[in-house]
């Protein structure tokens, strides 16, 4: 029999420490829709397969008493199934309609994988991203520009600098919101349930249920009980907490998979913050003894947090995948917002942090007059970190039209708000204009 304190500790995690299932994401293969007339076929397939997704999410939420914040869909990268004469934007509109009909929060997979080279369809899709994101509400786009095995496709990096800027321009009326739904990756994973970068990889089955857990507040509360203790005690505490959180994720994933009649894919062991007080990754780092996130020591603290979350979570689930680690989306984390406003957390420090944690430069707002080449150079740096460290990195950056350093941008809801932070003013034009490919790195002689 469970004892009262165990039961109450779970309730406190949910009620006060904001423990939740961040997302149930249903992956749907679109490969059977390939060719001309894909848009209508996609709408039919997605609405049929995900018909019960939102209802099932709500049932589980009610029965287990655990909030499930998002229900989402990820699909096969659209560039792979696009007909030669099909307008990619028509597919984006069909995906948006399908997301609306099924009631999900987002649909991801308006994507292309061009780490080594781009097909005509890849290029058509990438060039259509600004228009697609400006004409849809729920569609998320992603482009993989690099991998450890292929190196960095610098032609794609250059193009993405321009695409990010154009997406911001076309959604200028909403402070460049389109860029919050666009992510450029190195080493993108095929089973990521988190947006904006979720897509259903070509190596996946017809469907999959992937679940992303969260709970920065639970980790912070656990660390409050070991103030002043050495780091091995801190690491053990995080591991135990991550284990509990992930067990809950695994339970929900299996239940959702059973009710949806779709195979269980993975649990993504993530600490995903929200702008709410008590749900911040930065505050965990500060609980470890830092005065403010972004100061010296931040990278070490984040490395330990990220590693301990994985070690604790991996035994709690039969299949772990996705991005699995601590997220550091600036505008979505109250502690990071405060640290950026104070000037302690800079773009350069964020870049260093991305070398030891999940993903990369995320939800960072920069001046609207940042040149495309500078955005591309920021992406190239992130891709380099991912490629050489054999990890996923990404850039989701918003050059906010008409705004400059020190001004604020409000995206609302889970996307939060952020101060606009400076980029280096020196030109990257000649560097980015080269194009070509940075070769794949050597995997021995590690120093």
């Amino acid at each position: 029999m469970l004892n009262t304190s165990e039961i109450l500790s779970t309730i406190s995690m949910i009620k006060e420490q904001k423990l939740d299932i961040r997302t149930i994401t249903m992956g749907i293969s679109l490969l059977e829709c390939a060719g001309e007339g894909a848009a209508e076929k996609i709408y039919d397939l997605v609405t049929r397969r995900a018909e019960r997704l939102v209802a099932v999410g709500e049932e589980i939420e009610r029965e287990f008493g655990i909030p499930i914040v998002n229900k989402r869909i990820s699909v096969t990268p659209v560039s792979l199934i696009l007909g030669e004469r099909e307008d990619p934007v028509a597919v984006a509109l069909a995906l948006d309609r399908a997301a609306g009909t099924t009631g999900v929060n987002f649909i991801g997979g308006y994507s292309a994988l061009v780490q080594k080279g781009a097909t005509r369809n890849d290029l058509r899709l990438i060039r259509s991203i600004p228009e697609a994101l400006s004409r849809t509400e729920l569609v998320c786009a992603s482009v993989n520009v690099a991998s450890t095995r292929a190196g960095v496709n610098m032609d794609a990096v250059r193009l993405m600098g321009e695409i990010i800027l154009e997406t911001a321009r076309l959604t200028a009326g909403r402070d460049g919101l389109g860029c919050a739904k666009l992510v450029a990756f190195a080493n993108a994973v095929e089973d990521n349930p988190f947006m904006a970068g979720a897509f259903h990889g070509a190596g996946e089955g017809d469907t999959a249920v992937n679940v992303g857990v969260s709970g920065p507040g639970v980790v912070k509360r656990a660390l409050e009980a070991c103030r002043g203790e050495p780091f091995d005690v801190v690491a053990e505490t995080i591991k135990k907490t991550a284990f509990r959180i992930t067990r809950m994720g695994q339970l929900v994933a299996l239940e959702a998979s059973k009710r949806l009649g779709a195979p269980f894919g993975i649990v993504d062991l993530s600490l995903a913050p929200t702008p709410a007080v008590g749900d911040s990754v930065a505050h965990i780092l500060e609980e470890m003894g830092l005065e403010r996130c972004g100061q010296h020591g931040t990278t070490a603290a984040l490395m330990m947090l990220n590693d301990a979350v994985k070690k604790g979570g991996v035994m709690a689930s039969s299949s772990v995948g996705g991005l699995s680690g601590a997220f550091i989306p600036l505008s979505e984390d109250i502690g990071m917002i405060d640290a950026a406003r104070a000037g302690t957390l800079t773009l350069d420090k964020l870049e260093a942090m991305t070398s030891v944690c999940s993903v990369g430069l995320d939800m960072v707002a920069v001046p609207g007059d940042t040149p495309a080449a500078t955005l591309a150079a920021i992406l190239a740096d992130e891709a380099a970190i991912g490629v050489v460290n054999q990890k996923t990195t990404a850039v989701r950056i918003i050059p906010v039209p008409g705004k400059g350093v020190g001004e604020w941008v409000e995206f609302g809801g889970l996307l939060g708000r952020a101060p606009i932070i400076p980029v280096h003013p020196e030109s990257a034009e000649a560097f980015i204009a080269r194009g070509g490919r940075i070769p794949a790195p050597i995997n021995s002689l590690k120093n």
């Binding site: 029999m1 469970l2 009262t4 165990e6 039961i7 109450l8 500790s9 779970t10 309730i11 049932e59 009610r62 029965e63 287990f64 008493g65 655990i66 509990r244 067990r247 809950m248 695994q250 339970l251």
Partner: protein
């Protein structure tokens, strides 16, 4: 199927009577009850069996919510697997 009912709030006469009456209306059997006062708060945990329940999960949680509103208490019902997952190997 088993569930855990937790009741948190200020103590007053009739809490157990009201809640057990509500559960009885839907043919929910109470397997175990523990009750304590934690930092001045009335805290009750019940394990219940839902296998002969005469309504859906949504209906009973709705009824408990309404009862909680009337009594000024927080009443939750959650399937017990979530607690087992988090606290038992």
């Amino acid at each position: 199927m088993k569930a855990i009912v937790t009741v948190l709030g200020t103590d007053k006469p009739g809490i157990i009577a009201e809640i057990s009456g509500c559960l009885y209306r839907y043919n929910i059997n109470i397997l175990d009850i523990t009750q304590t006062i934690l930092s001045g708060y009335f805290t009750m945990v019940m394990m219940v069996d839902l296998s002969a329940m005469t309504c859906g999960f949504g209906e009973i949680t709705g009824a408990l919510d309404a009862l909680g509103g009337k009594l000024g208490l927080e009443i939750r019902m959650q399937r017990s697997e979530i607690f087992d997952a988090m606290h038992r190997l």
